[in-house]
Amino acid sequence: MRIKSLTMNNFMPYKGVHTLSFPEHPNRNVMLVMGDNMRGKTSFLNAIRWAFYGRALGRHLREIPTHQLHNTEAGQEGDWMFEVHIQFESEKHTYDLRRRASKKNMVAIPNSPEDFDVVIGLQKDSMAIRADQIDFEINKIAPEQVSRFFLFDGELLQEYENLLIEGSEQGKKIKKAVEQVLGVPALIYGRDELSTIFKKAQKQQAKDLSQVKGLERQAEQQAHYQEKQLILSGDIERIGAKLKETEKERLELDDKLDGLESIHEAKAHLDMLQKRQKSILTEQEGKQHLRLEAASDVWRDLLSVKLSIKRSQLQARQKQLAEKTEQKTVFETKIKQLEKLLNTSECPTCHQEIGENLREEAGRELGELQGKIRTFEIDHKESMEIAAELAHISAIRSTGAGKRIESIDADLRRLDVELTQVENDAEKKRKEIKGYDTADIARMRALRDTLLKEESTLQKDIDDTQAKIDDITRQLEVLAKLLQDDPAARASKSTAKVRVALELQELFKQSIERLRGDLKGRVEKLATEAFLHLTTQKSYHKLEINDNYGLQIIDDTSQRVEVRSAGAEQIVALSLIDGLSRTGRAAGPVIMDTPFGRLDLKHRENILKYLPNTASQFILLVHDGEIRKETDLEPLYDKIGLEYEILEVSPRHSKFERV
């Protein structure tokens, strides 16, 4: 399949008529559409989806109601018709598809999907297709179930990354969706139909056998199991309905909360700032307390400065007095020695008699010393007073209060600056959330969390009940086989019917497993093929698929790679989508909306090199922030057939410009 042109008239932001040609050359099959966020890239994707399948999807795959697909400005000008027209070719046939919605005559201002009449027309090789055949014809070319893999957005990628988490709830749901795409349901429906036939036949059999002597007990047991199975099936239906309702409610809350996320974040930030404000105030209070404690000791610091001089003076005087006392002691000793020498006329060291000259000299020296010592007045009272005063003064010591206060003051100044900053930030946040009921946002968040838990509980209830049903089903099958061997039972027509239904049911079960196995093998092969082109890691050898269609990376030593980066997850998801897309349909266009989220340059380059080769046309919708046109798109340069830019005319009006 190959799209030739797309014309939108008043569709979403595209007011008036906008026609885009698509690249038709097989080697220049890339079309690049650049546009800022909110300009209409996803609306472009939705135009194609709506034209083909009559639906446009918003967040969480929620369908956008028809009346919201109409351009608002056109409505204000009284133009209430919108249309998408696609010309395409497939297997050498040309097609002309047109879907148009017009306001009903009786409606003044449309505000619900019912206020529009929607008509669709499809021509194949210029021949109109009957209205009731159009969906069939489209699904033959581009099955709706596969559409998400070629009309591809970032949300899908995120969803498929969840598949890679073994046993996740979302993984199970996606598994169902994947099997839907791959055609497994045809067999599943067949098996379920046969299961119903089997149940009916067994019911009849129980009725019939209750009349046969000797088989009453088996008939009764069979009836008992059937009744139990019926009750449990009812339970599953009831819980399933409740689960759907809960899910719907939670998704609605999710949508509302998505819009209020920035308010919630601002409120959380404000709470954090207020908490910090409180803690700064407490910290300041503590510091103030310490400052007062230190202030009560400042007088000691001040006095110790002054007293240090006094202390030095006293210590100097004390030293002087000590030296004087020492000197006196020395003189007294010398006097005693000289007196002894003069009295004995004998040397105190060698005990020899000394001469007259020496005695005279000693006498003179003694006289001088006796004269000197007379002037030595040692004031002992002063010494004692100095010692006492020094002891008192030394008790008044600095406690370092000044230094402590200096450090506390520095802390207080820092806290003051921080407090001002926090108060300013808090004021900004208050302005941001002004007018919003943050209590209601908190309520919705709490309710959303509760609903999520409830969903998981309900899902578990369903799984448990299903396990009980499966158990009973097995019991009934065993009973059915036992009865087949009983000659009395075999004679009944209902037993024959049970046997046929049971055997067919078994056949379908095996077929389902076989089909699943084949499909998984094919998806694994194609996804591996894509992965090896996309990955930058040379040691990765292949992808291995699990029961839930999750993929594991296997390295060149046949080991599973357990830890994967966000980028690697995205590449694996992308490979899976490519594998599923190619398993589910013949080659066709791939339209990717904002797909490069977390990928590095090399991975982007690999995607850009690979995907144009697997698709008939590769349409890439990107914004400036996601890709640098001049450098990142280099691998595509020789493949780009057409390039457009989405420009803003007004907030509700965008237009295309060919580059």
Partner: protein, 125 residues
């Protein structure tokens, strides 16, 4: 002739108000802390206080201000002996000191570190 030490110390009434403000404004935890600091400040700055305090009133018992007689010792050590009681001198020093502290706290912030640094630099000059 022996000098009798007073049992109470106080301040001029206006200065007493300033002392109260020093506590109320959170510069000191207790008035007595400010009173002690005022005496020490005057001593550290080498102030020669005025002789008389007019409109004086008692505020503290001497035992409250100087339980271990440390201030008494400091005054005796720093100020040359005169014919005035030590605690009378303390009172006069406090009078000057409280006024000084009150002046310095006018901006709302009493910079103790600067008070101590100033006292040190006065000594070294």
């Amino acid at each position: 002739m022996s000098i009798t030490e007073p049992t109470n110390v106080g301040l001029n009434q206006g200065t007493h108000q300033k002392l109260k403000r020093l506590k109320e404004d959170g510069h000191f935890g207790e008035m007595v802390d400010a009173y002690r600091c005022a005496i020490a400040l005057a001593l550290a700055y080498g102030v020669v206080p005025d002789d008389n305090i007019t409109s004086r009133s008692n505020i503290f018992n001497v035992g409250t201000v100087d339980p271990d007689k440390e201030i008494y010792t400091a005054i005796k050590a720093i100020i040359p002996k005169g014919d005035i009681a030590v605690y009378k001198m303390a009172e006069r020093l406090a009078e000057w000191g409280v006024n000084e502290l009150s002046d310095k706290a006018k901006s709302g912030f009493l910079d103790f570190a600067s008070l101590i640094n100033d006292a040190e630099s006065q000594l070294s000059s």
